[in-house]
């Protein structure tokens, strides 16, 4: 690094920034000073890049689907590349805003704390455009990202110290601050200026449809299980295709970056509550539909498993995942005003994760103490 960027140099206020770009390009030549003389090749950058790669199928599919939904809505004939580029152009500004605002805050706070820039935001920034409605005004997104990064993460001390998943906080902020832009059946499809949907097209998400009229409404709207599994339905950019998300899940589980325990138990929780719902007559939608509708799959795979904000202990992960899945479906079934429960379920899970861990650890320690006393 050039001397002027170091402490006391003229441009020392850029130290963290320069260091971030330098370490992005090169694995630095720093050697171990204390403790273990050799270290594993894995670092946080590798963890993040793998999580990011796992999200790419969902992102690419989401871009194509944005164009595809637009074609359906306007009555145009769907064409693969045209649809994809339409979506790409719609989603790209979201990425630019999410990364520009978030990274600026991230770099600035790293400099204030005199630390290296943490790469955690690369993942957060990659997810944010995938979980917001594609037509969200960019200034709203900017405000939401700033709120989430500053009050969700930096005030706690940055990546690794945060309580809630910052990407979800962005979405929560949007939903509660600008509810008019975030719900209804218009926001999920991206229109050009002056365009309107043809009469036969309803932009309502399957989740909203199912919430209002159950299976009959779903069938009438023409949403089959396969459509929802493949993802050719309206919804947030990245969350529609369970298939693409499944692909990401395989990468995450294989590399061990995200916990399979949380994913499995979240699915179990969702299925159980969905099944109980049909049993007690709250809905006639089969429980497995919940897995492919709305943000359930995306949340389960990419958000609930965030290692920082989820439960830490093995046993805690089972409980945490189950709660997330169960609460998400409970909200869907028993809250008529609000169709999607995944976001709130995960944020609630994040809030209770430390408590879950505390209970798990305390129970384990007292069991251990008893065992030792007998021995």
């Amino acid at each position: 690094m050039n001397k002027i960027f170091e402490k006391g140099g003229k441009l020392s206020w850029l130290h963290s920034t320069v260091d971030a770009f330098e370490t992005f390009l090169h694995v630095p030549g720093t050697v171990t000073r204390k403790g273990s003389h050799v270290r594993d090749a894995i670092d946080t950058k590798r963890v993040i890049i793998i999580a990011l790669i796992a999200t790419i199928p969902a992102a690419l599919f989401g871009m194509w689907n944005t164009g595809y939904q637009h074609s359906l809505a306007t009555g145009a004939a769907p064409a693969f590349w045209a649809d994809f580029f339409y979506g790409l152009l719609k989603v790209l500004p979201l990425y630019v805003v999410a990364y520009a605002v978030g990274l600026f805050i991230e770099f600035a706070s790293a400099q204030i704390r005199d630390e290296e820039v943490n790469e955690g935001y690369l993942m957060t920034g990659f997810i944010i455009p995938l979980i917001v409605p594609v037509d969200v005004p960019l200034w709203m997104l900017a405000v939401a990202v700033a709120f989430a990064v500053i009050f969700g993460k930096e005030v706690f001390g940055g990546t690794g110290m945060n309580i809630w998943n910052p990407a979800l906080l962005t979405r929560a902020f949007l939903f509660f601050s600008y509810p008019n832009n975030m719900s209804g059946s218009d926001c999920w499809v991206a229109f050009k200026k002056g365009e309107t949907a043809i009469d036969a097209f309803s932009g309502a998400t399957p989740l909203a449809v199912a919430n209002e009229g159950g299976m009959d409404a779903l069938n009438n709207a023409g949403y089959s299980f396969m459509d929802m599994f493949l993802g050719t339905i309206p919804g947030s950019v990245g969350e529609t295709s369970a298939l693409a998300i499944l692909l990401g899940a395989v990468i995450l589980i294989w590399t061990g970056v995200a916990s399979w325990k949380i994913m499995v138990s979240s699915v179990a929780g969702g299925l159980l509550v969905g099944w109980l719902g049909t049993l007690c007559g709250a809905t006639d939608v089969p429980c497995w539909y919940h897995l492919v509708m709305g943000g359930f799959a995306f949340g389960t795979v990419f958000m609930a498993t965030d290692p920082v904000t989820s439960a830490q202990t093995s046993c805690g992960k089972w409980i945490y995942g189950f709660l997330v899945g169960a609460i998400a479906v409970i909200v869907r079934l028993f809250n008529p005003g609000y169709a999607e429960g995944m976001m709130l379920a995960i944020l609630l899970g994040n809030t209770f994760a430390p408590l879950i861990d505390h209970c798990v650890v305390s129970a384990h320690l007292s069991k251990k103490a008893k065992k030792v006393n007998i021995a």
């Binding site: 370490t23 390009l25 090169h26 694995v27 630095p28 030549g29 720093t30 050697v31 171990t32 000073r33 204390k34 403790g35 273990s36 003389h37 050799v38 270290r39 594993d40 090749a41 894995i42 670092d43 946080t44 950058k45 590798r46 963890v47 890049i49 793998i50 290296e116 943490n118 955690g120 001390g157 940055g158 990546t159 690794g160 110290m161 294989w254 590399t255 061990g256 970056v257 916990s259 290692p307 920082v308 989820s310 439960a311 830490q312 202990t313 093995s314 992960k317 861990d357 650890v361 320690l365 251990k368 030792v372 021995a375």
Partner: protein, 452 residues
Amino acid sequence: MSNNIDLKKGLNIPVKGCAELTVSKAVVPGIAAICPSDFKGLSARLLVREGDQVLAGSPVLADKKNPEILVTSPVSGTVKEIVRGDKRKLLAVLIEAGSEQEYVDFGIKRAEDLKADEVRSALLQSGLWMALVQRPYGIVADPAVKPKAIFVSAFNTAPLAADVDFVLADQFAAVQAGVNALAKLTDGGVHVSLESSKYSSSPLHKLENAVLHTFSGKHPAGNVGVQISHISPIRKEETVWTISPVLLAAVGKLFTKGRLDLTRKVAVTGPAAASPAYIETIPGAPVKAAEALIGSTEGVRIVSGDILSGKCVGAEGYLGFFDNQITVLREGTEKELLGWARPFRFNQFSSTMSYFSWLLPKKQYDMDTNLHGGPRAFIMPEDYYQKVLPMDIYPLYLTKACLAGDIDKMEKFGIYEVLPEDLALCEYIDPSKNNIQDIVANGIDLMLKEMA
């Protein structure tokens, strides 16, 4: 043979440079160093001056709090230099070895016939008391204490560690005498842990007067702390002692030969070692004595001990009192273009599936000291670290409690049961590159201060 304890968790680090099972030469070093920093909890008082004549076994240092506790010279010769650091802190006493080795005569005794007090005073006088490590905290043993039990790990799973069976070949009688002597100091018995796969080939399975255990599994299965936690975990207000097998043999030789004989086979290992093999030498010998095996010292790090928990001593350094391994590895100061983003890094090992080193399970790596990343806050969850720690504790919670200096929590999460070396693998696999061993060592220091 009691039931085998099979440990599923752990990690063997595939590093190149295992020592060939030959003793390339016996080295009588010109100089031997006694470093007080080898002994945690010793506040050293100097008993010699420069120019004094000493024999092998003459006292050189004493403990200020308990003057019975002595550190003695491993060689006979002249005190050449007393090395001090900042604030006159005693760093080392250098003793120039004479041409003829003369020993203090402690008298040949049958350990079986001695009383506990006689064993204790023999160990204290000879300086071999220092061989006993007291847990919790890993400090110099307190002679006033009767420990719950004494534990010996008769195999070492650390990367490239010296082969205990090879090191102790022909020393069975000494080990047996050592066990007989130490058994007098405790009512809980001397527990010796063997590797189950080598149980019958190791002569140590014939040991009498000891409780034998067998373990199988990856590193840290050979760490005595891990073994204790499976045999009889340390509770609050309990003390146990541990001793390394090499020093156990030295204790035996004190009684069978009547003199302090610390000679040991030392494995010179590591990816940057020119010809990894064993030498026979004493603790405190300069690592230079192994020059022929180490090779060039340009741009390499020389570690007394293993790559996980050893101490960096440098080319001018000395072999630690407890160590029987020298590891040589390159300093990893080169930058690697986009290293973290490359799909393949065939020359880097990762214990995780995030790289493709799992495709080459037999490969041994030329590892260097590069940190492979920058320091970050902890992001991986508790159970990521538990994968490499076969103990019933919470390594990450413990580390965080140490960081916070929270005594109650440290106690709860198991500070009594661990030494930094037990958490070395957690540090190795940590993607956030925290110095977990250092954090835990500071936690232990805090406990010592607060509990004193």
